[in-house]
Amino acid sequence: MQNVTAALADTPTRAGESSTASGSDGIISTTTDLLPSQVAAPFDVPALPVETLSEMYRQALLIRQVEEFLLQAAEQGQIGGAMHTAIGHEANAVGASAALRPDDYLTCTYRGHHHGLSRGMDVGRAIAEVLGRADGFAGGKGGSMHFVSPQHGMMGSNGIVGAQVPHAAGLALASQLRDEGRVAITFFGDGALFQGVMHETFNIASKWKLPLIFYCENNRYSEMTPTWRTSSVGEFYLFARAYGMESVQIDGNDAEVVHAAVTLAAQRARAGEGPTFIEGITYRLAGHMAGDLETYRSAEEIEEQRSHDPVLVLRNRLLERGASEADIAAIDAGVEKAVAEAIAFAEASPWPDPTEAYTDVYRN
């Protein structure tokens, strides 16, 4: 009885209490209560050129401002349905996209605006899609949860948790069968790890040595429930090891670290060495979706995590590497202008013609 009581106790397993080994190579034993910056990558992180850092900062800031606009628009009732922002997740996207080729494939969850934008999707058309306007990428049929732009390798964000992961494996299979050298990357949350299809895909991808990167954006919450309440497993990158895959846990809020990890994973994939699992420790600074009451966490917890805001991390990194305040101000001004123009474009975009509801059911 005591064991059962302990298992159901309303407290997370603390670092160091786990039975698995920890610490020796920068890997910690549980992700609960961590700041992303407490995770040390078990590999060298090369310093990126200032131009690359500047571009990643520009993208991260742009994503942040687009998401803040969308969140506000959703709260004001301009956006129907479920709208999930990536506020706090930006570094995972911009670091990965900067490390990949433009023709590499990407799939992701419904928290996917940052991935689409980091791949270079037009900001105005992306916002128009979320608003359901005719100029949206999918003409307003997909909306927030179905960002897609094949020309950018963005093969789809998805409304069903985990469903996009085998899609990326199929894209990797296509690349392998055609001998194209393209890599597929798929982003999912920690909550997705308990969908069966994830494990089916881990197994197949590892066995077939698919050129695939599994990227877990571990924000510690499965929608509105802390993930530690849903599983006895505390270290998710270890799942991958069970399937014979390389895996690594990193600071997902540091775009430079993400870039290094994805670069290594992509090299392995292109060399035919198979998939890599990256667990990026990150934090969702906004709610799971617009309208989330956020009763499951404290204001203090969010405040503590703000000290490692990924946009701030990039900004400070730029200053450390010799960029001036004026350089950064110029980027800020450029982003502000671009976002304002994109919003204006999207809001001016017409509603789709109602007859469009009947098109695109079948390809003729």
Partner: protein
């Protein structure tokens, strides 16, 4: 023309399409080295190798999702299921993903893949290996559903399914696999368009609209009704369930004035109800007596022979229903 089996022509269609288009590949459980549970993919592994005839683990959600991914960039996967019942394991990938991808992406991405395998009862496989899923799949927009009854139609339709730019569910039937029929020589190219019905027997008194193995049962019923009761039944083989060729059905009803829609999926909320409803919506004036549907009784499929035979909408039930319809006319 030659006499050949249903299994043989499916095998030929797969091989011919793989030779024609390097994007076509076959994926499923035991399809490679073993040649498929029912030997439908035999010899393909030897010719095309493990990259194009892919043995998967028993992970239907996983490899169905992978097929979507590969198809989204122009590959043409042909997925085999040993039993169509197992497709329900991959229901999320089929209904939420494959069927909707073209629409959700505003037409930016299309998914040219085929899901094929055998369904149906009659061999005492019980509840989880005997279901017919045609009505279920036909309910969802975005997928086409094909269920040919003869070797000739099966080969021509499978080729069309593989060349189609949309997801196609290609339904074989376990009772059809070893049936024989006329087909052109193995290397003679022909296709049959998806969505076109075919009148398999001409008649003047009543139209049976059906597909898959029920076509063979309907043809036997028609012979009995003609010989013993002087009733001439016209048998319309739909061949495709979605798109549904209601025009050919109604053209037949215009001649006979009576309509019975038959299928082995459940009678309730089934494709037969759809056909009857469309007949009443489009051309009620054609009907001399109430149109009816006949499907499997709404129970799970039992194993025991007399129990299974009891619920199947085959020849005996068709004859009885036609006689009732003719009496009430």
């Amino acid at each position: 023309m030659r006499k050949t089996t249903y299994i043989q022509v499916i095998n030929e269609a797969l091989g011919e399409e793989m030779r024609r288009d390097p994007n076509v590949f076959v994926m499923g459980e035991d399809v490679g080295r073993y040649g498929g549970l029912f030997r439908v993919t035999r010899n393909l592994f030897d010719e095309f190798g493990p990259k194009r005839v892919i043995d998967t683990p028993i992970s239907e959600q996983g490899f169905f999702g992978m097929a979507l991914g590969a198809a989204s960039v122009g590959m043409r996967p042909v997925l085999e299921l040993m039993y169509m019942d197992f497709s329900l394991v991959a229901a999320d990938q089929i209904f939420n993903q494959i069927a909707k991808y073209h629409y959700m992406t505003g037409g930016l991405v299309n998914i040219p893949l085929v899901i094929r395998g055998q369904q149906g009862a009659g061999k005492r496989y019980g509840s989880q290996h005997s279901q017919s899923v045609d009505s279920l799949y036909a309910h969802f927009p975005g997928i086409k559903v094909v269920a040919p009854a003869t070797p000739y139609d099966a080969k021509g339709l499978l080729k069309s399914a593989i060349r189609d730019d949309n997801p196609v569910v290609f339904l074989e039937h376990k009772m059809l696999y070893f049936t024989r029929g006329e087909a052109p020589a193995a290397d003679e190219e022909y296709t049959i368009p998806i969505g076109k019905a075919d009148v398999k027997r001409a008649g003047t008194d009543l139209t049976i609209a059906t597909f898959s193995y029920c076509v063979l049962q309907a043809l036997e019923a028609a012979v009995e009704l003609s010989e013993k009761h002087g009733i001439e039944v016209e048998v319309v083989d739909l061949r495709s369930v979605e798109p549904l060729d209601i025009d050919t059905v109604l053209a037949s009803v215009a001649k006979t004035g009576r309509l019975l829609a038959v299928h082995e999926s459940y009678s309730n909320s089934g494709i037969g109800a759809e056909i009857v409803a469309q007949a009443y919506e489009i051309a009620p004036y054609l009907l001399k007596s109430p149109a009816r549907r006949l499907g499997m009784a709404p129970v799970s499929v039992p194993v025991s022979k007399p129990l299974e035979e009891e619920i199947l909408p085959w020849k005996g039930q068709m004859v009885a229903t036609v006689l009732e319809m003719m009496r009430t006319a």
